[in-house]
C-alpha cells in the first residue's frame, strides 16, 4: 500500500498546480473585460452556429506531432522505474536513453526547421 503514496503525491501536486494557476490569474491578472474576450474560446472557430465548418489542417499536424512526443514521454516511465537498479551496474542505461532522446531530438530539429510548428 505504501508504494502508492508517490501516486497520491502526484495527484495532489497536479491538482494544486492547476488550482494555484487559476487563483493567481484571478488575483494578479489585469481586468479589462470586453464582449469578445469574455466569450467562449474554441481555438479561433466561432463557437455558435453550424458545426459543419472547415477548419485548418494544422490541427491535425499538431495532434500528430503531440502524439509522437507523447509516446516518447510514455517510454520514459518504465525506463525511470528501472533506472536506479540498472545504474548501479554501469552507465549503459543512461547512454541508451540518451541515444533515444538524440534520435527524437533530430526529429524535432527537422520539424522545427521545416516549419511544421508555424501556424500560418
Amino acid at each position: 500500500m505504501t508504494a502508492y503514496i508517490p501516486v497520491l503525491i502526484l495527484m495532489g501536486l497536479g491538482a494544486a498546480v492547476a488550482a494555484i494557476v487559476l487563483l493567481l490569474t484571478h488575483l494578479i491578472g489585469p481586468k479589462a473585460p470586453n464582449k469578445i474576450k469574455m466569450g467562449v474560446y474554441e481555438c479561433g472557430v466561432p463557437p455558435i452556429g453550424d458545426a459543419r465548418r472547415r477548419f485548418s489542417v494544422k490541427f491535425y499536424l499538431v495532434a500528430i506531432l503531440f502524439l509522437l512526443f507523447d509516446v516518447e514521454t510514455v517510454f520514459f516511465f518504465p525506463w525511470a522505474v528501472v533506472y536506479k537498479k540498472f545504474l548501479s551496474v554501469n552507465a549503459f542505461i543512461l547512454a541508451e536513453m540518451l541515444v533515444f532522446l538524440a534520435i527524437l531530438l533530430v526529429g524535432y530539429v527537422y520539424i522545427y526547421r521545416k516549419g511544421a510548428l508555424e501556424w500560418d
Partner: protein
C-alpha cells in the same frame, strides 16, 4: 559467441552507420549555413556516403571477419550469411537512392525525406536478417512494415500511390498480428523468446503423440508460416505486394522488390531452418509433426504458376514486374523447401542475381518512361515499342535484365534456376522439379512477348519537353553497366561464388547447432 559490448558495437557498425546516416540526411536537409547558399543535393551525398561506409564494413566482415564464426548480442546474431544479405540490402538501398535522384515522379522538396525513409527501411531490413530473438524480430518487422507503407504512399496526390500504401498497411498489420500470435504461443510453450531456446520444446511437442501437443505445434506452425508467407508475398498473400508494386513510385518499388524479398527470405530461413528443423549431416530435417518442406513447396508452386500466368495479360510495366517478382519468390522457395545445403546455397545465389536484375530493370524503366512521359510516368507497355531501333542501349540493357529474370542462358538468372533445379532433383523431389520446369518454360512467355515488342517497327513517340534531353546520362549508363556486369558475369563465372556460399552456410549453421 556472446560478445562484449565493444566488440558487438564494432560488429553492428553497419546498422549504427545506417541510423546515423538517416539522421544526418534529415539534418542536412534542414540545415542552413548562415551566409552561404544552401548546398543542393546534400542529402543524397550524405545518404550515399553512409551507405558506402556501411556496405564497406559489411563486405570487410565477409572477406576478413574480425570474429570467429558468428556473434550474438542482444537478440541479434551475425554470421557470414547474414552479412551477405545485409550487403545486398544496403546495395539495393544505394541503387534506390540513385533512382530517387533522377526520379521525375517525386518533388525535389520531398527527396530528402524519401532518402531518409529509404535508409531507415534498409536499416530495418538489415536488422530482420540478423534477429534471433522473437521480440527483436517482431520489433524489426514492424519497423520494416512501417517504412513499406509510408514509402509506397509517398506520392500523396496520386490515388494509386495512396491506395498502394493503404493495402500494404492492412496486409502488414495482418502479418504482424499473425507473428505476434505465433510468438506468444511459442513463448507459452518454451518460456523464452530466444529462437535457439524454443526449438527443443517444439521438438518435444512434436514427439509427444497426443492431440493437444500436435494441435499446439500445428497452431504455432500455422501462425508462423502465415507470417512468413505474407512477408514473402506468396499466394494467397500476394495481392498487397502486387498492387503496392504498381502504385508506389519507382525508387520505392525497386527497393521493395529487392530488399523486402531479401529480408523475407532471411526470415523464412530463420523460422523454418532454425525454429522448425533440426540440423543433421544431410541438411535440415523438419521436426516431427511439422512437414514444412511440403507445405512450402506447395505454396511456392502456386505462387510460381500464378505469377507467370497473371503476368501474361498485364499492360502495366510495374505490375508485370511485380508479378515477375512473385513468380521469382516461388522459384526461390523451392530451393528452401529442399532443406539441404545445396538447396539453400542455390537459393541465395538465385536471390542475389535476382536482386541485381530487378534493380537494373526498374532503373532502365524509370529512365525510359521518364524520358517519354515526364512526371506523369505512365508505365504503359506501349512505351517500349520499337525500343531497339530508337535507343539501342536501352534495349540491350532492358533485355539483359528481363531475359535474365526468366532464366535465359548465358545470363545469371539461368544459372540460378539451374542450380535450384539441380538441388530439387538431387534432393529427390521429382514432382516439384517437374512443376519447376513447367513454370520455367511457361513463365518465359510474357517476358519474351515483351522483349519482342522492342523490335516492332518504328513508332512515333512524343518526347516530353522537360529537363531531360537524353534518355540516359553518362552516370546512369555507368550504373546500368555496373549492374549488367554481375548479371552476365555470374552467368559465366558462378563457381567461386557458389563455393563460397556453401562454405559459409555450413560454417554459420554449424555453430547454431553446437549449442543444442
Amino acid at each position: 559467441m556472446n560478445a562484449t559490448l565493444r566488440s558487438a558495437l564494432f560488429a553492428l557498425l553497419p546498422e549504427l552507420v545506417l541510423l546515423l546516416t538517416a539522421l544526418f540526411v534529415l539534418l542536412s536537409d534542414s540545415a542552413r549555413i548562415p551566409g552561404r547558399r544552401q548546398p543542393k543535393g546534400a542529402p543524397l551525398w550524405v545518404a550515399l556516403t553512409g551507405l558506402l561506409i556501411a556496405a564497406a564494413h559489411t563486405a570487410l566482415s565477409i572477406a576478413a571477419p574480425a570474429w570467429e564464426g558468428s556473434v550474438s548480442f542482444a537478440g541479434l546474431e551475425l554470421n557470414p550469411v547474414s552479412q551477405l544479405f545485409k550487403a545486398m540490402i544496403i546495395g539495393s538501398c544505394a541503387v534506390a537512392c540513385l533512382l530517387a535522384r533522377t526520379s521525375r515522379e517525386i518533388d525535389d522538396r520531398d527527396k530528402a525525406e524519401l532518402l531518409g525513409l529509404l535508409v531507415v527501411s534498409a536499416l530495418a531490413h538489415c536488422l530482420i536478417v540478423s534477429a534471433s530473438n522473437l521480440i527483436v524480430l517482431f520489433a524489426c518487422l514492424e519497423m520494416a512494415w512501417l517504412g513499406t507503407y509510408v514509402l509506397a504512399s509517398f506520392k500523396r496526390e496520386e490515388p494509386r500511390s495512396s491506395e498502394a500504401g493503404m493495402k500494404l498497411y492492412v496486409y502488414g498489420a495482418l502479418s504482424s498480428l499473425l507473428f505476434a500470435g505465433g510468438a506468444l504461443v511459442a513463448y507459452g510453450v518454451a518460456g523464452s523468446f530466444d529462437i535457439a531456446a524454443i526449438r527443443a520444446p517444439l521438438a518435444a511437442l512434436g514427439s509427444a503423440h497426443d492431440a493437444a501437443s500436435i494441435g499446439c505445434l500445428l497452431l504455432i506452425f500455422a501462425l508462423f508460416f502465415s507470417t512468413v508467407a505474407a512477408r514473402l508475398a506468396l499466394f494467397p498473400f500476394h495481392f498487397a505486394a502486387v498492387d503496392g508494386g504498381e502504385g508506389a513510385p519507382i525508387p520505392v518499388a525497386a527497393f521493395q522488390s529487392a530488399a523486402s524479398l531479401l529480408a523475407a527470405v532471411a526470415l523464412a530461413a530463420r523460422v523454418f531452418l532454425d525454429l522448425f528443423s533440426v540440423r543433421s549431416a544431410a541438411g535440415w530435417s523438419a521436426l516431427e509433426g511439422v512437414p514444412w518442406p511440403y507445405v512450402l513447396a506447395l505454396f511456392a508452386a502456386a505462387s510460381m504458376t500464378l505469377g507467370n500466368l497473371a503476368a501474361i495479360s498485364q499492360n502495366s510495366l510495374k505490375r508485370m514486374l511485380a508479378y515477375a517478382a512473385l513468380s521469382q519468390a516461388g522459384f526461390l522457395l523451392i530451393g528452401l523447401s529442399v532443406a539441404d545445403g545445396l538447396g539453400v546455397a542455390s537459393m541465395i545465389f538465385s536471390l542475389f542475381t535476382y536482386t541485381v536484375m530487378i534493380l537494373g530493370a526498374f532503373f532502365t524503366i524509370q529512365c525510359i518512361s521518364g524520358f517519354y512521359s515526364g512526371s506523369q510516368t505512365s508505365d504503359d507497355l506501349s512505351v517500349l515499342d520499337g525500343l531497339a531501333w530508337r535507343e539501342p542501349f536501352a534495349a540491350v540493357a532492358l533485355s539483359c535484365f528481363l531475359l535474365g529474370l526468366i532464366g535465359v542462358p548465358p545470363l545469371s538468372g539461368f544459372l540460378g534456376r539451374f542450380y535450384l533445379l539441380n538441388a530439387a532433383l538431387q534432393g529427390g523431389h521429382l514432382w516439384v522439379a517437374a512443376i519447376f520446369v513447367l513454370n520455367w518454360v511457361i513463365g518465359s512467355a510474357y517476358m519474351l512477348r515483351l522483349v519482342a515488342r522492342f523490335f516492332k517497327d518504328e513508332v512515333a513517340h512524343r518526347v516530353d519537353a522537360g529537363t531531360k534531353d537524353v534518355m540516359f546520362t553518362r552516370f546512369e549508363k555507368a550504373v546500368l553497366v555496373f549492374l549488367m556486369i554481375p548479371t552476365i558475369g555470374l552467368g559465366i563465372f558462378s563457381d567461386p561464388f557458389m563455393r563460397y556460399l556453401s562454405k559459409s552456410l555450413s560454417q554459420s549453421f554449424e555453430l547454431l547447432t553446437r549449442s543444442l
